[in-house]
């Protein structure tokens, strides 16, 4: 992927080209932004609040790996016209597909629960009880998908992306030394601190989740993007990834310039929003609150939807937002169940929330390597991709990225199972 390759769609800079680009725009931007969900925002807030600007340098490699992985999915979608689970089923058989789907269902359910937790926490900043906000949010998301068509849903999602600008606004209202930020963004640092390393891995881990590849590819297919228009879609993917990481940067910066400088301890994204109030002002706190609610709501819509999508695709059941309960029952029940379970877990007192998140995180770590490796095998399959297989250089980059992601995810998963494992390892190496 060279620069000339990138701007190729715009070489003939005309009104028509711009229009085509806006028509194709969507899948990449939406997918990358859902990535900044409740879990992501929490991680970024904590990274900024605990380690100041020192973790900013991780964002650049994260962007690159995100683009590499998502670009391959978008390309497969455009070339084959099939979703990722479709390709996995056809190339690797029912058994592998079935177990991957079960795993994905579990991890997405866990993620959906954390999105509803994000909504509850975000609304509580504004004094709304979770008994009101969570059922309302669940209903809203459910209605949007059941009653809307793909075009409407996409438009709503694209609009939700704009609300992420709340974070840059919040960061700009804080007292930030931008020179320091710029320097920190390109200066790697490796202190022998277990918590720092764990946070470093967490940053990458929240950014690349298995559902994203499926969702990206499915929405490229649903949109009917073909090889001829693929140049624009690649641009869409890159813009989306860059935008998502820029939002992450502003979250880290806002928390670093305020909470970190004051040395306040925080545990969640809602803590961060509340901590901003005395430091920057009430509206900064509100902006953070709105950002969290929007991100959680957005992801609470996309995650159940994408789960339903790829499970139905793999199993050969009818699917599509434009269908209904009667002609695509499995599709509609799957995401209804995800939403209901997600919302109920938050509402019912005494639900083992932490245990659920724990299982979800572990399953996530186990399934991601499989998905990434299968993906690389598929994209290098000439029978499927023809002339659009990876080039040798890109392929090397892709394998290195995937390998690095697998190692990082494995570490993160092990640290979830045996807390403190990374700290022990770091101190062991530093000795």
């Amino acid at each position: 992927m060279t620069f000339s390759n990138l701007v190729a769609p715009f070489r003939k800079f005309s009104r028509r080209n711009i229009l085509v680009f806006f028509a194709v725009l969507g899948p990449g931007i939406i997918t990358a932004n859902v990535d900044n969900d409740a879990g992501g925002i929490t991680t970024y807030s904590l990274a900024g609040a605990r380690y100041g600007y020192s973790l900013l340098w991780m964002l650049l490699p994260t962007t690159i790996s995100l683009v590499v992985v998502q670009e391959m999915c978008a390309r497969m979608g455009a070339v084959t016209g099939k979703g990722l689970s479709d390709l996995i089923r056809e190339s690797f058989g029912l058994r592998i597909t079935f177990y991957i789907m079960v795993a994905l269902f579990l991890t997405n359910l866990g993620n959906t629960i954390s999105e509803f937790a994000g909504i509850a926490a975000g609304m509580e900043i504004f004094g709304v009880s979770k008994l009101v906000s969570v059922p309302l949010a669940a209903l809203l998301v459910w209605l949007l998908i059941v009653k809307g068509s793909y075009r409407i849903v996409e438009r709503v999602f694209l609009f939700a992306c704009v609300i992420y600008l709340a974070y840059p606004l919040a960061a700009l209202s804080a007292d930030v030394h931008w020179g320091e930020v710029a320097l920190a963004s390109v200066t790697p640092s490796f202190p022998a601190d277990g918590g720092y390393v764990a946070m470093m891995i967490g940053l990458v881990g929240t950014t690349i989740a298995p559902w994203m590849q499926f969702y990206q590819q499915a929405s490229v297919v649903e949109k009917g993007i073909t090889v001829e228009k693929y140049g624009y879609t690649r641009l869409d993917v890159i813009i989306g990834c860059v935008f998502a990481v820029v939002v992450a940067l502003f979250i880290v910066v806002a928390c670093a310039a305020t909470i970190y400088r004051q040395g306040l301890p925080i545990e969640t994204a809602a803590d961060a929003a509340l901590a901003l109030k005395p430091l920057v002002g009430e509206y900064a706190s509100w902006l953070f609150g709105v950002g969290l609610i929007n991100a959680s709501l957005f992801a609470a819509g996309v995650l159940p939807l994408s789960t339903a999508y790829y499970i139905c695709e793999a199993m050969g059941w009818e699917l599509g937002i434009d269908k209904n309960f009667r002609n695509a029952p499995e599709f509609f029940w799957l995401f209804t169940i995800s939403i209901v379970v997600g919302a109920l877990t938050i509402l019912v007192p005494g639900m083992p929330l932490l245990a659920v998140m724990y299982v979800s995180q572990v399953v996530n770590g186990v399934v991601l390597p499989f998905v990434l490796i299968l993906m690389l095998l598929l994209i290098n399959n000439k029978r499927l991709m023809g002339a659009y297989v990876n080039g040798p250089i890109f392929n090397a980059v892709a394998w290195v990225t995937v390998f690095a992601l697998i190692v990082l995810t494995a570490l993160m998963t092990l640290d979830t199972v045996w807390p403190g494992m990374i700290s022990t390892m770091v101190s062991w190496i530093a000795r």
Partner: protein
């Protein structure tokens, strides 16, 4: 005669008569049979190598044991790998196929084989939950689970004769039955199947149908999706299909294509058809000019009822709505309209000028859908004539096309969701 599910035999050991294991069954090669596809040999994997065993060498083929004489066994060579053969696991299992009876696209979960004499046939594909459970080796568990709820797992097997594979190679395995049935489907059903297919495979299905059926099916698609289908085909085939379509449908389609592609296709079309379409393309999409159909039935005022009926018999095949026959002066301005009913019921020698309804309700070329709808509903018309700036009649807008624009988006989009 016994039946065997492929899921039960794949991966099983294949032994020779002495009981020595030759390898594990990996795949089956299929050839077209008289009625159903025939198994012509087995692929066996042994120590990382794939071997081919012709069917003639197989002595026993049951879910419990597969045995064969080892003399036919040979390592798969480059020639085997290059021949465009069809393999059951690689090309059929887990693939999407068209269920011609149900008019939808389904996925193959399992295949039912049947022995008849010395031969082994593919009899049916299993597309249901039963096949899935069987593949996973959990059929008993799922049966038990269903039993707990007082239900039975449904059988969903489709006879091979009623499926149309989407793989070009595997396609040779079906006889004409599925194809004929596919052509017999209602164009709206074909359109729905097309909308469910990955864009690469649309060509396979279309290639097996005649241009007339294809043009009707594409006309049923949402123009955006239809345009995509057309641009996937080679230009020669695409222009043939466009010629068969009604000019206003073809124009809608071309309007959604990139300009160069549209010009190329127009150039390849028959000059007369192309001109009709070109005329419609010049108007804005959401105006009477863009919605209208420029083929309509018209007669001069001096014609008699009998002559008019004969004339309609002659040209009617080309015209969408023959119920309204417009009476038009030599300068193409309309005088009135006469219904087919009126023509049939009047004495044969009456000139149409005497039986026509005057005071024709018409719309202008640049009128919007609201204006057209208003006139259609106010006067209870099936179609409304469109006049250009000089008052000449250039086409008619049928009521159903305008109606579509006023239906809620959910109804119109529901049918042809692309995914």
């Amino acid at each position: 005669m016994s039946e065997i599910y492929v899921s039960a035999v794949l991966g099983r050991p294949v032994i020779d008569p002495a009981g020595v294991e030759l390898g594990r069954l990996e795949d089956l090669r299929l050839v077209p049979g008289e009625l159903l596809p025939l198994v012509s040999g087995l692929f066996i994997r042994n120590r990382g190598k794939r071997h081919f065993l012709p069917w003639g060498a197989v002595t026993l083929f049951t879910p419990v044991v597969v045995s064969a004489r080892a003399d036919g066994l040979r390592v798969e060579d480059a020639a085997d790998a290059d021949t465009p053969d069809i393999r059951l696991r690689r090309d059929v299992l887990d693939r999407q196929i068209v269920d011609v009876d149900g008019a939808k696209v389904v996925r193959v979960n399992d295949l039912k084989l049947r022995t008849r004499g010395a031969n082994l046939f593919v009899e049916a594909v299993d597309v249901g939950i039963r096949g899935m459970a069987r593949r996973l080796g959990q059929l008993r568990f799922w049966n038990w689970l269903a039993g707990v709820f007082g239900a039975k797992l449904p059988f969903r097997e489709i006879n091979w004769r009623f499926v149309a594979p989407l793989d070009l190679n595997a396609d040779r395995l079906t006889l004409t039955v599925a194809r004929e049935r596919l052509t017999d489907l209602h164009p709206a059903d074909i359109a729905e199947i097309l909308a469910q297919l990955p864009h690469k495979e649309v060509g396979t299905v279309l290639g097996s149908l005649d241009p007339e059926t294809v043009s009707e099916a594409i006309g049923e698609l949402d123009p955006e999706l239809g345009g995509r289908v057309i641009s996937q085909l080679d230009s020669e085939q695409a222009s043939d299909i466009l010629e068969e379509m009604e000019p206003h449908e073809a124009a809608d389609l071309l309007g959604d294509l990139p300009e160069e592609k549209a010009k190329e296709l127009l150039g390849l079309m028959d000059a007369e058809d192309a001109e009709m379409v070109q005329e419609l393309l010049e108007h804005e999409e959401d105006t009477a000019g863009g919605l209208m159909n420029n083929l309509f039935a018209f007669v001069p005022p001096a014609m008699t009822a009998e002559e008019a009926i004969n004339y309609i018999r002659l040209v009617g095949a080309e015209v969408d709505n023959i119920y309204y026959v417009y009476v038009i002066r030599a300068d193409e301005t309309p005088l009135g309209v006469v219904t087919l009913k009126r023509l049939l019921l009047s004495p044969p020698k009456t000139p149409v000028a005497e039986i026509m309804t005057v005071g024709l309700k018409a719309v202008a070329v640049d009128d919007g859908p609201e204006t057209i709808m208003e006139i259609l509903s106010k006067y209870n018309l099936l179609a409304v004539p469109v006049l250009d700036d000089g008052g000449r009649m250039v086409g008619t807008v049928p009521a159903d096309d305008v109606l579509k624009m006023f239906l809620p988006e959910s109804i119109t989009r529901k049918r042809f969701a692309a995914h």
